[in-house]
């Protein structure tokens, strides 16, 4: 074992630039992976918050039968909950929103209509439900933030999608770097490796220093990543919290730590498996 570790050390030193290149690439990759994962976790919270808030309002005609409409709407399969807001309630609400301007009783006539307020089981059904509502007798108009809600949803989805796409590319890139580092190491020592084979050394014996090298590189880069990401994340959320206090940020230190531990595990795995695979392949190639 000591021999293998010494050999690994020699390989690392003899091949320092390549190792450094791999280290920086892997660190950047893992850092971005970590950042995207954290972003996704936060997006998911925002998204589910947003989804809960999607409310469809149907404004009713004076002539409408509120109770019947409520029943009809509650019977729709996509609807989670529905309630009536009378025009009196609506005016009261507006008065609270504009204190000092709309005092209770300051208006001679209430210009607001009654309305039905629905929440949906799945916010993606919003357009279907809106169309159904509009077709009901007694409904004057339907409002749900128009294009805004579905656009926001699809944008968030595509940001997440892009993020994972980027991470996938970066992981591939890291893998290429590891393959390359190992291959380079073995290529530079191809004569030595052939000699060892000719002297009767087993593949596993020859492979060991390279696999060790990969594991060490993976471990190092993921540790560096974790050490950078942890304080950076909490500094950022700290700042964001004061700026946008309504954002449902992930600030549970245990969850973040677990994620970073996973990252370290991934780094070691990618480093170890990558170099094992590469060493195996190039050993065969050299024969």
């Amino acid at each position: 074992m000591m021999y293998q570790i010494r050999q690994m050390w020699l390989a690392l030193r003899g091949n320092f630039t390549a190792a450094l290149a791999t280290l920086t690439t892997m660190t950047l990759t893992l850092a971005l992976l970590g950042a995207v994962s954290l972003l996704t976790l936060n997006l998911e919270r925002t998204l589910s918050g947003l989804e809960k808030e999607v409310e469809v309002s149907a404004f009713l005609l004076e002539s409408a039968n509120d109770a019947t409409l409520l029943k009809t709407v509650q019977a729709l399969p996509q609807v989670a909950s529905a309630r009536i807001v009378t025009k009196g309630k609506a005016l009261e609400q507006l008065g609270q929103d504009l204190p000092g301007i709309l005092e209770p009783g300051s208006l001679e006539e209430n210009p607001l209509p009654d309305s039905l307020r629905l929440t949906l089981k799945n916010p993606r059904d919003v357009q279907v439900v809106a169309a159904q509502l509009k077709a009901l007798v007694g409904v004057e108009s339907v409002e749900y933030g128009e294009g805004y809600v579905d656009q926001a949803l699809s944008t968030l989805e595509s940001v997440r999608f892009l993020g994972y796409g980027l991470v996938l590319l970066l992981l591939l890139n890291s893998l290429f770097n590891i393959l390359s580092t190992v291959r380079v190491g073995m290529f530079a020592r191809r004569v030595e490796i052939e000699v060892m084979r000719l002297l009767g050394a087993r593949r596993g014996f020859i492979r060991a220093p390279y696999v060790l090298e990969g594991i060490v590189l993976g471990l190092l880069s993921s540790l560096i990543t974790a050490a950078l990401l942890y304080p950076a994340y909490f500094a950022l959320t700290g700042q964001l919290r004061t700026l946008l206090p309504s954002l449902p940020l992930l600030e549970d230190r245990r969850v973040v730590l677990e994620l970073l531990v996973g990252l370290v595990g991934l780094g070691v795995l990618v480093g170890g498996l990558g170099s094992w695979f590469a060493a195996n392949r190039y050993l065969r190639e050299l024969e």
Partner: protein
Amino acid sequence: MIQLRHVTLEYPGAAQAALDDINLHILKGEFVYLIGHSGAGKSSLMNLILKRETPSRGEVYLSGESLRKYRGGRVALHRRRIGMVFQDNLLLQNLSVFDNVAFALRVIGVPQREWAARVLSVLAQVGLESRQSALPRQLSLGEQQRVALARAVVSDPPLLLLDEPTGNLDPDTSGEIIRLVQSTNLRGTTVVFATHAREVVEQFRHRTLTLRRGKLVRDDPFGGYAL
């Protein structure tokens, strides 16, 4: 010990077979010279026995077993029973002289505490005791060749393959080397010795095989250098 039956070796893309229908039997404990012009096929024959190459046709047997079916770990085991000096030396460049020789002991699993005694004794026999911590590139080519020989004999292998082990040695030094090989042979090791050194073949007489353009043209039990 070694038997070749109708062995032909054609390198891919080569116009002519490097070895052509060789039949040969080398007994356990024998000392055999292999001579022939440059390009006659001496190294190719060695490479077949080491299973560095596989014959295009025919079979190579070691102790009655065909090498053809050997794979992976089995090849490694096979090679551990052979001590070889390659024509181009092939030392491990990042290891010291001592470690290069000790590598042969490491591979066959000799416990580490025995290394020092065995390695230093064989280094003394090739006259390089004082250079034990030098790296190969700090040696003259003749010195490297002697390290390669030390590595080949240190493990007392049943079979010794020597491919031009004195090509870079002066007559005095090569005489010492051959005496070392002969004493190994007397302890029971089978030796196959490819060489161009007429003086050596003439002075230390042994069974001599002559190759010409890949064909075994002469098998002289009493030796002598005649191409």
